[in-house]
Symmetry: C2
Subunit: 399 residues, 2 copies
């Protein structure tokens, strides 16, 4: 029920087709983030009209609310959220990390994300001094950020959650490390992640009915030998695809290094997913390195604060609350054919944001997602026609 | 460019057609409230699909943000907000009242709306002891709730705002009184409202290009002789239609009395609008008394808190956050054909509300508006077929 076909290559960039039981995904593809079984502020009908191909939900969040048992009882995630297309679900390893070591170290995926908390010491991940997250060989124990209840994730348990949710593509449980973890800890965590990957695969194969595919996740922090060791080990297990997980270093340069060390080791004939990267400037970078799928909350999160994609703007974005847009009759982006740009002016969008009207957020989200999908369509066509380098130069010269 | 035709009567209830430069309105019709040039949480495309015929915006709010000059520059309200159908705009008299005497007296349209502030004395309408609203013969001075700036509304100025906004149907500036105002004050305010109505009409006729219609507003509080005097005076001016404004007494019974005193005096061949009434239980009441249009924020406001219309529920509403809906696969209302009911379960809606996802509010608003529109279609058909009494019995027996 799954297949992955490479249709064209330009350098390391690949145009392909990933077929799932809920339809094909033309790659490379952006994966819209629908953490809580909804892409924030838009409906699945909006997403179909935008041309979005695939959504990634989050097992950690859905386990806490409304719970995988409820979703299974409601007929699975596709039916529950009204989305008939391909669905992925992340294991929640990164979310557990970001409430645990990430918070403790005051860091996010690349750069620090909690700068104001950086220097507050070792027990920032708990209000009462007890850690919110505890990792051992068996799995991860964590406390719900919603109600303080205790939860326990194991590699096998996460496979069961994935099976109950019924997403087409699920991921193994991994342990994310922070760029502030030392070599010794990063190596130990990576080795544990490898043992977890083997356990997950055994459990997956025991219960698998061929309606789901399983991605393995490469860890190893920003250390060359660890990333190479991890890529080799995970690739050897024969997963249906591969994700590069974890903290990707302290800068974009370090991230690029991690990708350079890792990608050549992964099999060519399986899809590769990059977790949590998706700003416009990064997209050409990750496509050129040979990724087929990538997800990121940035486009939808930016939309909610009025930061909107526009081709001819600095860093491809305008901030619609700026006074200069007060009486601007133009659409957000002149070349964009999205619902928002086809019907509304910058002036109206700005008014909605100033007046704190909810419609603002939906219209902005539709635009940002459509803008990205439109770029991805251009990128796929360019790869098939051997024009990716040209397209990339055209866009990046605008930055 | 305007016409109003009565197609059928059953008792005092009327089925008609109000033609505007932006299309016809089949009456009786619910008017969706789009205070700030958007019906909260839905797009105009949503409203077209719902079958909504007409939107009412608010001159007071739009004057404060983004300002009528900007909207005129952007091509008028229709173009600005992307709505090609009929538009009304309220003058803002009630909003000024609710920040002034309404707050001071701790009362709303019928029942108290600020119970917690009721006993705090005379200067509740200002944080510094100065009143936020000052009414004199010339007009109303008030302070913006947004930024503390001073504004001045006159009957003539409100006509100019209406002209700049470009709504099809505009309303005169009136002074709303509270049920706690005595006979003497209510009479004085009514007489001032009458002088303002004459001034508004003179200004309207001076600048009118036949693309807009003007409604007069009847005041007079809960006093029989004043309501009758006001209805007689306002009807004599020859407005394009009539609205019953102001505070309608202390109870639904007092409101019904006010309507009984007033409606027989208004001309049969002009549309009648009731400002701010629109819960399901009230709809049959106002239709049977001969209203053609009515607006209310209740359906959209209720939606935002998860209170959803359902025919077979107590008071025609369910609260979706109730635990009983946790695993309920049914749509909100079994007989409803709205987008929400066609695609999503109560369980999913409840999950979205619990998870504080924005999609919840849009889906709930679409449902409540569609449910009302669907009821209004049934009511119009029933009047034309002489079955309103039967339809009303069928619904009200469910309460």
């Amino acid at each position: 029920m799954f297949s992955f076909e490479l249709l064209a290559k330009e350098g390391e960039a690949r145009a392909g087709r990933l077929v799932t039981p809920h339809g094909p995904i033309e790659t490379p593809s952006f994966v819209a983030v629908g953490t809580q079984a909804t892409v924030k502020a838009v409906s699945t009908e909006d997403l179909r009209k935008i041309g979005n191909q695939v959504i990634i939900t989050n097992s950690y969040h859905l386990h806490l609310q409304p719970g995988e048992d409820l979703i299974e009882k409601m007929g699975g995630l596709h039916r529950f959220m009204g989305w008939e297309g391909p669905l992925m679900t992340d294991s929640g390893g990164f979310q557990i990390f970001s409430h645990g070591a990430g918070k403790e170290h005051g860091v996010g995926k690349i750069a620090p994300i909690f700068p104001e908390e950086k220097d507050r010491g070792q027990h920032l991940n708990s209000k009462k001094g007890k850690p919110l997250v505890k990792v051992d060989e068996e799995g991860v124990e964590f406390i719900s950020y919603l109600d303080g209840s205790r939860h326990w994730f194991t590699p096998e348990g996460v496979m069961e959650i994935g099976r109950k949710l019924g997403a087409d593509i699920i991921m193994v449980l991994d342990e994310c490390t922070s760029p502030l973890h030392d070599y010794h800890y990063t190596k130990a965590a990576m080795e544990r992640t490898h043992r977890w990957a083997v356990r997950a695969l055994v459990e997956f194969q025991r219960t698998c009915d061929n309606s789901q595919a399983l991605l393995g996740i490469v860890q190893g922090g920003a250390y060359r030998d660890l990333r190479q060791e991890s890529a080799t080990f995970i690739a050897d297990q024969g997963f249906d695809g591969y994700a590069i997980g974890g903290s990707l270093g302290r800068s974009k340069e370090e991230m690029h290094q991690v990708l350079e060390w890792t990608l050549p080791i992964l099999p060519q004939d399986k899809p590769r997913h990059l977790l949590g990267i998706g700003e416009i400037e990064d997209i050409f970078e990750v496509v050129k390195r040979g990724f087929d799928l990538f997800d990121c909350v940035a486009p939808t999160r930016m939309a909610r604060t009025g930061t909107l994609f526009a081709k001819e703007a600095e860093r491809f974005r305008i901030h619609i609350l700026n006074a200069q847009f007060r009486d601007d009759l133009q659409p957000i982006d002149e070349g964009c054919n999205c619902y928002t740009c086809s019907n509304y002016s910058r002036a109206y969008l700005r008014h909605l944001f100033v007046a704190k009207e909810l419609l603002a957020i939906r219209l902005a989200t539709i635009h940002n997602l459509y803008f990205l999908e439109s770029l991805m369509r251009q990128i796929r066509t360019a790869i098939r026609e051997g024009r990716l380098a040209t397209l990339s130069r055209e866009w990046l010269s605008l930055v």
